[in-house]
Amino acid sequence: MSAAPVLACHDIRKTFGNLTAVNGASLHLAEGEILGLVGPNGSGKSTLINAVSGYFPIDSGQVLLDGHRIDGIASHRISHRGLARTYQIPRPLGSLTALDNVKVGCYFGRRRSGNSDVDKEARHWLAFTGLGAVTDAPVASLTLHQRKFLELARALACRPRVLLLDEVLAGLNPVEVDAAIDVIGQVRDSGVSIVLVEHIMRVVVKLCDRVTVLAAGSMIAEGPPQTCLRDEAVVDAYLGRQHARGA
């Protein structure tokens, strides 16, 4: 990796009272790659995503997007610099239709489209994620699958350089998962670098160029998915020492 990483996190630390959720985690995302962020439950993955995207301030460490520090700056500025994210439990804007949700991304993301383009763009992104049929539906009527993809469409409408996907496939059936893999692949091909937080291992193996493993708030392994996931420390973290020795 000779080029500078598009997203770099150095020694992130975040505590909640007595609980240290993230303890010196570092992360590098190269341009055009899909980085898997895996780890057992409670390892701090979502916290790390939240910290990187500016949902809450970090206690120490640095987050750099394209070489510029984005930790501590206002959320909307982070978005304008080119960072977008989805939420583990979808958070659509409840009083708006699906189309309007995506329009918000078009209006306020990196491109900041004007009134004349917004409608077309929003429809494009909805079609891209397969939601063309439900553009005018109120979000309350959408299934979980549709909401997750609405999140994705909305995040893409912000024209990000880096996209953080927080367990976007959780709760989907295998058919939906396969469709999602296709879409995510297309997103990467269009030039967006992705950090994929995921539990479903076959997805991680199939999609990710590299994988970082988080356990108890810090990194324990990094590398290509095939080798990384077989690493003794990783298996230990997920399944326990006995299994690790057998791997």
Binding site: S53, S75, S79, V104, Y107, F108, N115, P138, L144, R147
Partner: protein, 411 residues
């Protein structure tokens, strides 16, 4: 602030059809010509006064809604901005004998600047959440009320008489002048609210209302928009207050900063609907008209019961207010109103235009309050011409609200 009513269709994407534009133009034309034909027909000069108050409340409610409705930050402190406008007039008339045409925009500016400064502290330095802001504004609003009642320092006595206010002669009598300027202000405020709603800023405010964190993540400049909406709303409230001072004439701190304005703007906007510019217009017209009619009959308590009942029923049943329901059942409402007018005129209970109008509105509201299930049953076989609204066809076909199917999750 959480959003209300997940079942309500998004009104943000509406575009005016030819019918609506024509109807709006017709209404405005009639209203504009009314002072010219004052004195003809039944009780016309009271009609002018009544309509002035309708314009006043439409302006106040709409201005409140620009921030509190669109962005979801409930404010109980409308009285501060309205009162600032009132006192601007008092001071400028007393010391500089300015024309009312100059005073109104200055009153607006004063109120707008006050809002901007307060907003900078409350949103910028401390960044209060929606709920805490509501409580904060409640405290401020109550504080103003107490000050108004007790402290005489504001005007050193028990009130000031405004005296002669100068205005261009072509506006006619004082009542006509008040009417015309109030109409202009109301149109301007509603126009501005509509423009904001359909604009980029409207989407940004809606994002702030529904989920401010997510809005920020999507790139909405939340601080800037909150300040803008807050100040613009306050500006119109102040301008309207500046004009209203002329009507009040004997201005006491209680009249300027009392609880009446902040209370009613909230009630009117909540009942009318806070997400759409038409909501406060409808709410203000409805509440003021019934208020006027019932107070005339001496039934003050009955009026309060009616307002309380409407408030509770709307919040529990209609969530997003009357206006959204109106978009779903426009024809039925129009028919109900027309039938009411017919009955009232035939049975001779009309009295005057205002009473007939009140009955028409109440009938329309009654139709809107019918629960969806009952409504679907009774109008299942309605003819084609019934479906006037653009969205009604698509929306009404869903007989029962679809339940969101969320699996897993931690909530």
């Amino acid at each position: 602030m959480t959003s209300t009513g997940p079942l309500a269709p998004s009104p943000l994407t509406r575009r005016p059809t030819a019918i609506k534009l024509a109807a709006a133009a017709a209404v405005l034309a009639v209203l504009a010509l009314l002072p010219v034909i004052e004195g003809t027909g039944r009780n016309s000069s009271y009609l002018i006064v009544y309509l002035y108050f309708v314009f006043f409340w439409v302006t106040q409610s709409t201005s409140w809604n620009i921030f509190s409705g669109y962005a979801g930050y409930f404010s109980f402190a409308q009285g501060a901005f309205y009162g600032a406008g009132v006192y601007t007039t008092v001071l400028l008339v007393e010391h500089l004998h300015m024309s009312i045409l100059l005073i109104i925009p200055i009153g607006g500016l004063v109120a707008g600047l006050t809002a901007l400064l307060t907003g900078l502290i409350v949103f910028g330095i401390r960044s209060l959440s929606g709920e805490i802001f509501a409580l904060f504004s409640l405290s401020l609003g109550l504080g103003f009320g107490v000050l108004a009642n007790n402290v005489n320092a504001i005007d050193g006595g028990s009130g000031r008489v405004l005296g002669q206010v100068s205005y261009p002669a072509w506006l006619g009598s004082v009542n006509q002048m008040l009417y015309v300027l109030a109409l202009v202000l109301a149109v301007a405020t509603v126009f501005c609210a509509r423009a904001i709603q359909h604009s980029r800023m409207g989407y940004g405010l809606a994002a702030i209302r529904d989920d401010e964190h997510v809005g920020g993540t999507l790139g909405v400049p939340t601080l800037r928009y909150k300040l803008m909406a807050f100040s613009i709303g306050a500006m119109f409230a102040g301008a309207s207050g500046a004009l209203h001072a002329v009507l009040i004439n004997f201005v006491t701190p209680d009249a300027a900063f009392g609880q009446q304005v902040p209370f009613y703007v909230i009630v009117m906007s909540v009942i009318g609907g806070r997400r759409h510019w038409l909501g406060p217009v409808l709410g203000a017209t409805l509440i003021y008209t019934t208020n006027d009619r019932l107070t005339n009959l001496g039934m003050v308590e009955l009026n309060q019961i009616l307002v309380g009942l409407l408030l509770t029923v709307v919040v529990v049943g209609l969530r997003a207010g009357i206006v959204v329901q109106l978009f779903r059942r426009p024809a039925a409402t129009a028919v109900a109103a027309a039938v009411a007018v017919l009955i009232v005129e035939v049975t001779g209970r009309g009295g005057d235009v205002i009473t007939t109008f009140a009955w028409a509105m109440l009938s329309g509201v009654a139709i809107l309050l019918v629960p969806d299930r009952v409504y679907q049953m009774t109008v299942r076989h309605r003819p084609r011409w019934w479906r006037l609204g653009r969205l009604t066809a698509a929306r009404d076909e869903t007989a029962s609200p679809p339940k969101p199917r969320v699996s897993g999750g931690l909530r």
